[in-house]
């Protein structure tokens, strides 16, 4: 390779007419300095100067674009005769393509306060639209479910079972471990606080009440929101990005029936089952702590459980599971359908699905707690 020579563009005003001398390698390596120079030269009146390109070394597209901008079409056609054929063709090609191409002006900076207000406004609007969409989607799922209920030949059992395995069976170990640990923590907490009143025996009630009514179903639902809602969004979202959803529609099939209903049904079955597992494990966790630190033997724990805790607490806890399951699945699927083309969009909607479903689960749980309290259940 030839040695690189420093490029330059100089306006020689000693001769008449003025002469613009172009020299050296006009290449990408020198782009920044060359662009500064040529912009400076353009502000001086150089339009009548002739150009001398005889000293020009290597030329690439970056340099050619600068030359084209600096000299313009007319001068380029005169002064390039002594250039090699290839460089001339390059200059011509670059010039032809950039002549109508100007870089758009950047939008002026706007007031920060206005921007803030605008973002708040659009966020509120998005929230409203999202809620409407979710309600509409829930309606659509229910309609499809009810319609298919009476057509047993169109039940899709295989995907439902596959999704039960993914969302239920595969999640059982993590749910069991998590609730066992939380059960143990609650028992520790109860033991510490209740010891001050000499009422450590009520640790049993504390663990049982909290897990049967609230913790088991809430923890499971939150885990499912993180684990399953995100999976649903990513699965449906990448299908959407890959035009698979459109393909399903053009084949005359219904994406609701093919993709959404099996997922909703699977979660409707697996979340209550997991909730039951969570209740057992939480209580076992509490029992272990009671046996180790409070000298409440497992047999005594069980008999206290049997005598003190009514079955309605178990039912209240379990009754919430299907509602949570339905909403988690619906949000996961809906966010998947909202994905547009890009990989970034899949990520954004997956995050949104998890946040929304955890939010909805906790809000619904609070409402249910109030309701049950008023009803005396």
């Amino acid at each position: 390779m030839e040695p690189m020579t420093t490029p330059s563009a100089t306006l020689d005003t000693t001769c008449q007419p003025a002469c613009l001398r172009i020299a050296g390698d006009w290449t990408l390596a020198h782009y920044a300095s060359l662009r500064r120079d040529s912009e400076q030269l353009r502000t001086q009146s150089t339009s009548d100067a002739i150009a001398d390109l005889s000293q020009l070394g290597n030329l690439d597209t970056a340099g050619a674009s600068l030359l084209a901008e600096l000299l313009g079409a007319e001068r380029l056609s005169h002064c390039t005769e002594d250039l090699p054929e290839a460089s001339r063709a390059l200059l011509k090609t670059v010039y032809c393509s950039v002549q109508d191409y100007c870089i758009p002006v950047k939008a002026p900076e706007r007031n920060v306060l206005l921007l803030l207000l605008e973002r708040i406004g659009s966020a509120v609007d998005t929230l409203w639209q999202d809620s409407l969409q979710l309600l509409g989607f829930v309606g659509l799922i229910l309609e499809t479910l009810v319609r298919r209920l009476f057509q047993p030949h169109r039940w899709r059992v295989t995907p439902v079972v596959a999704h039960i395995e993914q969302t239920g069976l595969d999640a059982a170990p993590i749910v069991a471990l998590l609730t066992f640990l939380v059960g143990a923590v609650v028992a520790f907490l109860g033991a510490t606080v209740l010891a001050a009143f000499g009422a450590t025996i009520f640790t049993v009630d504390l663990v049982a009440f909290s897990f049967l009514r609230e913790f088991a179903v809430l923890l499971t639902a939150i885990l499912m929101a993180g684990r399953t809602a995100s999976a649903f969004t990513a699965q449906i979202g990448s299908m959407k990005a890959n035009e698979e959803i459109d393909a399903i529609r053009t084949l005359g099939l219904n994406p609701m029936e093919l993709l959404v209903v099996p997922r909703v049904l699977a979660l409707l079955i697996s979340l209550p089952l997991l909730t039951f597992v969570a209740m057992i494990c939480g209580i076992v966790g509490g029992a272990v702590v009671c046996a180790l630190t409070l000298d409440i033997s497992p047999a005594m724990f069980l008999s206290l459980l049997q005598s003190d805790i009514g079955v309605q607490h178990f039912l209240v806890g379990l009754a919430k599971a299907p509602f949570f399951a339905f909403l988690i699945a619906a949000i996961g699927c809906l966010e998947g359908f909202k994905v547009s083309g890009s990989a970034e969009s899949v990520g954004a909607h997956t995050t949104s699905a998890v946040v929304q479903s955890i939010f909805v689960v906790i809000v619904l749980d609070a409402v249910a707690a109030l309701f049950c309290m008023e009803m005396g259940w």
Partner: protein, 263 residues
């Protein structure tokens, strides 16, 4: 032919996926400044060969030298230096979906050429214009572009650093005939002006007849024949005969011949 300098030398390449073998003892050269077209039936391993050469896939056997150096044995820093001299246009464009078209092209300019953001975006605009992308598309995200526009934007990114070797994987597929012809001309101009070497995978017979210097036919797991088009056409092989003398091949040949006479 032997006097020319080879920028890519592939020797004894074997690529296997499990028990399925795609290439067996494949040899191929790319000489400096030439446009080499690689043709072959669907599934004959053209894209796999391209991925092997640019180092995305390590062949099971064989040696690939680029600019006289074995990419696989280089250290990361040197390897990156060599890879900077590649421009690759992937089959589906492979634009970064989280960046606008201009930012896609400006990215290598900022990272490798050390330009400021303003300079890089200005130059990116030039490259986009060169690739024939309308100005209105420059600030869009790839997801809102048509297939042909994605091809052009991806070409602009491949050309960003004025590479020495340009790898094109079916560049004219999905372009309208006018756009495809302009694309061919652009490749020719750039090759002549910058001394590019072009490795071109194509099914486009018009491209083949218009711009290629040599054609390599990939068949039966190796390069069946590589040489100037006229030579390859005369090769006595049923697949090659069908390819070049089938109805589409004849039409493209006539078109190229009559275009040549007009000139």
């Amino acid at each position: 032919m032997s006097g020319r300098e080879a920028v890519i030398e592939a020797r004894g390449i074997c690529n296997r996926f499990g028990s399925q073998s795609v290439h067996e003892q494949l040899d191929l050269d790319l000489y400096r400044g030439e446009i080499l077209a690689v043709v072959g039936g669907s599934g004959s391993g053209k894209s796999v060969l391209l991925r092997s050469i640019i180092g995305l896939r390590r062949p099971n056997e064989g040696l690939i030298k680029v600019f006289g150096e074995d990419l696989a044995s280089l250290r990361d820093e040197q390897r990156s230096q060599v890879e900077r001299r590649f421009g690759v246009l992937f089959q589906k464009g492979a634009l970064f979906s989280s960046l606008t078209v201009t930012e896609n092209v400006a990215l290598p300019l900022i990272e490798h050429a050390g330009l400021s953001r303003d300079d890089a975006e200005h130059l990116a605009g030039v490259k986009l214009a060169l690739a024939g992308l309308p100005l209105s598309a420059a600030d869009k995200y790839p997801s809102s572009l048509s297939g042909g526009m994605i091809k052009r934007a991806a070409l602009a990114r491949a050309l960003a650093l004025d590479p020495d070797i340009l790898f094109l994987d079916e560049p004219t597929a999905g372009l309208d005939p006018i756009g495809a012809a302009a694309f061919d001309q652009l490749i020719l101009t750039l090759r002549d002006a910058l001394g590019l070497s072009v490795f071109l995978i194509t099914h486009d017979l018009d491209t083949l007849y218009t711009i290629t210097d040599r054609v390599a036919v990939l068949s039966q797991k190796k390069v069946l024949v590589a040489g100037p088009l006229a030579e390859v056409e005369q090769t006595n092989d049923p697949w090659i005969h069908e390819y070049f003398h089938g109805p589409r091949g004849r039409a493209a040949e006539h078109a190229a011949a009559s275009a040549g006479q007009e000139r």
